[in-house]
Each structure stands twice: as C-alpha cells, then as structure tokens.
C-alpha cells in the first residue's frame, strides 16, 4: 500500500512539473510577452524598445531558466540598470537588493503580481477560491445524493419502467452543457418576460420582478437561496446524469451477483437486499467517478461563473486569460492542475482502499 502511494505521488509530481511547464511555456510565448510589454510600458513602443523591455524585466533568456526561476529552484534574476538601481525578481519595490532572497518562486510562496487586480497573485487566487469553494460545496451537496439515489433506484431493477425514465433523465442532463442549462434555467425562473416569473408576479406571489436572480453577484456578500440556486443547479445538472449512469452500471452489475441471489432466495426482503447487501459494493465505482468529476466541475465552474457573473476562481481565470495577466494565469493553472491531480490521487487510493479484492491482493 505504502509503495503504491509513493509511486502514485512520484508520478503526480512528475505530471505537475510537466503540466506547469507547458502552461509556463504557452503563457510566456513571445507574442504574449510583447503584449505584456506594450500594456506595461507604452503602446507605441518600437520593436527594439519592446525587446529591451522584455530583456530588462527578466523575460529574456531560455524558457527553461525562466521556468526554474518561476518555480523557485533557480536564483531569481537581478539587473542593475544605467542609473545604478538594481531590480530583480526577488526584490520588492524599493527594497534593498542586498537583503532580498535568492530564490523566490512558486515553491517559496511568491506567486507574482497580478496586473489586472493590482494585487499579489496568491492573495487574489486564495480569496476567489474561497468564493468558488462555497459554490462547489453546494454543488456537491446537491449533486452527490441526487445522482446516487437516481443511479441506485434505476440500477436495482434493470429494465423496469422506473429505470427507463430515470435513464432518459440522466441522458438528457448529460446532453445539456452548463451554458445551455444556465440559459434555460434563467429563461424559466429568472426572466422578467418569460417563464414562470411574470405569472407569479401577476398573481402577487413574489414581490420582485423575477423568482430567482439571474446573476449571482450579490452572492459574493451573502449567499441566499434566491441568488445561489440557479448557478448551483446549472453546475450540478451536468454532473448528475454522468454519476447516475455510473452508479446504475455498477448497481446492475452487483445485482446480478451470486450473493444477491442467495440473499433473495433466503427470503430477505428486497429493500434489505438493496440497502444492506448491494449498496456498499455498488458505491465503490461511483466514488472514483465523483472524485474524477472535480476536473469537470472546474470546467463547469468557469462557464457558470462567467454566465452568472459570480466572481470566483473561474471568473478570475477568464479575466487572467482575457487580459494577458501571465502571473495570475500561471497561478490559476497551478491551482487547477493541483486540484485535478490531488483528486486523481484520492480516487486511486480510495478505490484501492474501498475495494478489499484489490487491497488484499
């Protein structure tokens, strides 16, 4: 078990390094740096001025060297210009170069400075992650029980009418990406001209113009049912179908096992067979699936936060990418990659841990 975890951790670190390098390479391509130079310096810089700006701000040299600096395993760059002022990666504004640290990269907690938010990257990423954390938490609270119940109900009697109808629902939700379900949900519940809101307003059941709010901006300060239900539902819907289908597959497989038949033949009630014999074994596979859903949720979070204007992690990623904020984008990528890899690790280890057939082998 320990050896397995160690090997998985090794692969994970290797993957993280490879992925962050790819992101670093792609964000630090020459055109992006030129754009950065023009936004930070001046728009009308000559090509030579741009080239020297890039050189003077530590973006010159080989990409491997810069990656190592960014990671914090190589000493940060230092340059003394004509006026005798020394600037460098590790030297804060007007700080004494002599006292500055040699290494300052992601590993040391120096994630750079965001040009969009005018704040240190680490601070803004952590703050936005908090907002997204709330969103994720509610998504999980809605998604996991609903999908598991759907899957178990349809899997316990394969081919029954309940199974058929639940399967159709599951297929329909997997066919509805977030940007479609979001639009439809807003149309039904949060539009002043269509859906159910005008009716309810007319009957005097709601005081506002719409039942739910079409944006979640106010949820940044205070989460209420009315401003948070639609974004949560939008993300959860897409995942529900997938997890439910996985649970169903696993449940149908378990229900054909010998020990289930034995229990039935012994005269155990069907309800007890499902709850006591089948459920525990049927939930091993969905556990991995739920864990592997996190990367997909990340996708959904970006779309939903953009759609509902909720200023969380996904929104930050869009801002960083749209405004060529290299440090912020790198910071977001590190977080995203870590989330994906850690959930993969948990899912692998959890699978081995939950499944005695693999654990004891």
């Amino acid at each position: 078990m320990l050896k397995f975890v160690a090997r998985r951790l090794g692969v994970m670190v290797l993957t993280a390094l490879a992925l962050t390098f790819v992101v670093f390479y792609l964000t630090n391509l020459p055109p992006n740096l030129e754009k950065l130079a023009r936004t930070e310096g001046s728009v009308r810089m000559t090509d030579q001025a741009v080239a020297s700006w890039i050189e003077n701000n530590g973006h010159g040299g080989s990409v491997f060297g810069r990656y190592a600096q960014w990671l914090g395993v190589a000493p940060g760059w230092k340059l003394t210009d004509g006026k005798g002022v020394t600037r460098g990666r590790c030297i804060q504004n007007n700080a004494d170069p002599a006292t500055a640290a040699t290494y300052c990269g992601v590993l040391q907690g120096e994630w750079g400075f965001s040009t969009v938010f005018k704040k240190p990257v680490l601070e803004s990423v952590l703050q936005k992650l908090g907002s997204t954390g709330w969103l994720m938490m509610w998504v999980m609270i809605v998604m996991v029980p609903v999908s598991l119940i759907m899957g178990v109900l349809s899997g316990m009697r394969e081919g029954s009418r309940l199974d058929r109808s639940l399967s159709i629902v599951a297929i329909a939700t997997t066919a509805t990406p977030e940007y479609v379900s979001g639009v439809i949900l807003v149309a039904i519940f949060a539009s002043a001209t269509a859906g159910i809101s005008p009716l309810l307003h007319e009957w005097g059941w709601i005081s506002g113009k719409t039942l739910f709010l079409g944006t979640a901006t106010s949820a940044m300060d205070k989460i209420t049912f009315w401003n948070f239900a639609l974004p949560v539902l939008t993300i959860a819907l897409y995942g529900i179908g997938y997890i439910a289908r996985m649970t169903r597959a696993s449940m149908t497989e378990v229900m054909t096992q010998q020990y289930i038949r034995t229990a039935r033949l012994k005269g155990v009630r069907f309800r007890d067979v499902v709850l006591k014999h089948a459920l525990r074994n049927a939930l091993i596979a969905p556990f991995t699936v739920i864990m592997l859903q996190f990367p997909w949720l990340l996708n959904g979070v970006v779309i939903t936060e953009a759609l509902f204007n909720y200023k969380g992690f996904g929104w930050t990623l869009v801002q960083a990418a749209g405004n060529n904020d290299i440090d912020l984008l790198l910071g977001c990528s590190v977080v995203a990659v870590l989330v994906v890899l850690v959930t993969q690790l948990i899912s692998d280890i959890g699978y081995v841990f939950l499944n005695p057939r693999i654990r004891l082998a």
């Binding site: 692969v11 290797l14 993957t15 490879a18 992925l19 790819v22 992101v23 792609l26 964000t27 391509l29 020459p30 055109p31 992006n32 754009k35 399967s167 159709i168 297929i171 329909a172 997997t174 066919a175 509805t176 990406p177 940007y179 479609v180 979001g182 639009v183 439809i184 807003v186 149309a187 949060a190 539009s191 002043a192 001209t193 269509a194 719409t210 079409g214 990367p295 990340l298 996708n299 970006v302 779309i303 953009a306 759609l307 996904g314 990623l317 869009v318 990418a321 984008l329 977001c332 990528s333 995203a336 990659v337 994906v340 890899l341 993969q344």
Partner: protein
Amino acid sequence: MNTELLSWGQIIARILQQFLPVWIALIITFTVSIRYKRKLGLYGKLFDSPVGMVGFMLVMFWVYTAIFADVIVTMDPIAQFGRVKNPLPGTPLIDPKDGQYAYFLLGGDHLARDVFSRVVMGARRVLTIAPAATTFAFIMGVTLGLPAGYFGGKLDIALSFLANLVLAFPVILLFYLLVTPEIRNTGIPVVLAAVLFIFPVIFFCTLFNSRFFTNPPKRNLYVGVTLVIGLWAYFGLAFNLDPLGVWSMDPNLLNVFVSVVFVNSPTVFRIVRGIVMDLKARDYVAAGQTRGESAWYIMLWEILPNARGPLIVDFCLRIGYTTILLGTLGFFGLGVSPESPDWGSTIDDGRKLLSLYLHPAITPALALMSLVLGLNLLADGLREESLKD
C-alpha cells in the same frame, strides 16, 4: 407596411413549412430503413429500439438541416436587417424588398440578424467540424492505443503517461492557452496539426500494408493511392501548401480543430487500449499469432473489427461531446470567427441581454441540446442493440 407580429401558431406553422425538405428526407429515410431493417445489420436493429429511433431521428433532423440549410434559411445569417435591435419572434421586416422573407421567425439578435437562419446555418458549421474532429481523434487514439494495449511494456507506460498528462489538463485552460489569436503567430497550431494530421495517413498505410503485403501489386495500388491523397490533403490542411487549392483550412478553424482533436484523442486512446488488453487474450488472436501473422495485422484486422461495438457507441457520444466543446469555445468567444453563426458564439452573443431578451440565446441553446441529446440517445440505443447479439 405590415407591422403586426405573427402569433406563435403562425410562427410554428411557418417554421414547419421552412423545414419541409428535412421532413421529406426524414420520412424517406425512416420508411426505407424500417422496411429493410432485417437486412441492414446493426443499423437496422436500431429501429427495434424506441430510444435509438428517437435519437436517430433527432440526429438525422440536424444532419438534413445542415444539408438543406441553403433552402431552409429565410435570410442571410450574417447580414443585418433594419435598425431595430433584438426584434421579437414574429416581427415583420421593415420595408422588405421583393423576394425577401418578410418576418424574423424567431426574432433577431442585438445586430438584428435573423436568429432562425443563424441557427440553421450554425447546424452546418457544427455538423461539419464536430464529426471531422471526432474522426481524427479516433484515428489517432486507435493508431496509438492498439500498440499500447497489444505490446504493453515501456511503450504503453510512455504513451499512457502522455495521455494522462493531457487528460489532467483542465480543458478550459488548455483552450484559453491554445485558441488565442497570438498563438497563431508562433506556429504552434501548425506543429500540432502536422503531428495530428499525419496519423490518418499512417493508419491507412499500415492498414493496407499489413493485409496485402503478400500481394505486392494490390498493396502498391492501395498504399500508393492512400499516400497520394493523404499527403496531398495533409500538406493542404496542415501547412496550407496544396498547389491545387482544394484542401485548405482557415488558420482560426485549424486552431480550433487541432485543439478539439488534441483534447479528445487521449480518451479514445485509453478506451482502445483497455479494449485491446481485454481482447488480446482471445483465441482468435492466439490463432493469428500461431499462423505467424504480423502484429499489425492482428491488431488492425483481428482485434479492431471485434472492438467495433463499443467504439461505435463511443463515437456517437464523442461527437456530442465535441459539439459541447465547440460550443464552449464559442461561448468564451474563442470560436471560429466572431461573425460565424455557430451555436456557441450565438449563445454567447445572446447571454449578455439574457434578462431582457431571451430569444437570441435560447434558440441555439435548445438546438445544441437536442443534437447532443439525439447523439446520446442514439449511442444508448446502439449499445443496447449491440449487446443483444
């Protein structure tokens, strides 16, 4: 001048009328298929499953819409009509010219472009890119997945690591990094295209060579034709170097296409690898090995045909998923071009005014949903029917 809005009944009647060629084509397809379903193999069996039939109908509806789009559209999908922004469904055109369709059937968007025509034209866009990208992803996944599963060992470890690397990449981040205007100047999409597009050529050459190498004239013919057409298309599509100008791809489209293939192929690779690892212990594989067949012959002509069931099902699902991905790209404004009527971009245009005007966003949203739903139902029906035998 007519200023009265059409009622919803009239709108629906007019839309149904516009889709007339599609209805005719659908009726012909279904009559013929149901008539001869016993002779049509797996495709015929599809018509035994109600779910599969509904799925097939939805998919064929959009396929025929894409084919007949020129006849169905009521207005030019890119042109802007009138000064009124966001006209409601059924709004008549202000002073229509002769021969011009007089109504915005499903309303217009913020630039007064006809939503109905844009969605219909968008179907053509989506249904050319998505299946093509999925096919490329499949060929790449199969070409790499077969040897990885069959030989195992170091090759498998290396390829699996690469596949997991791509899979661990958050899709949206990858799109934001790969599908930008700046990246085109760096040539990275062309390099990626050069790598991805060579796989079909390799695949078909190996396919024919492994089967016909005992019969050189036939082999030379097949491989020669593949090489000529393949390399011709390859240089045209990847490098825009086709001397005759038949094969070419807009750089922006190439960028989108390459990214979608790149994101999809690792999953296909994993599926193929898994199936091959399962199938290589079968007797017919052992028989082939005993006969002294080459490894590639066994992989391509023994294992691959036997793996077709799950692969066809996954192909349907994956076209749907690719459609969703393309929509996502459009939604973030990274799509083919801002003018393009593809569904994702249209949803993106419409969502900004969502609380005031629903119709510009909801029509493409429903269109996309129905196509993907159709593909998923079709896959479900196929899976069920292929499990029966």
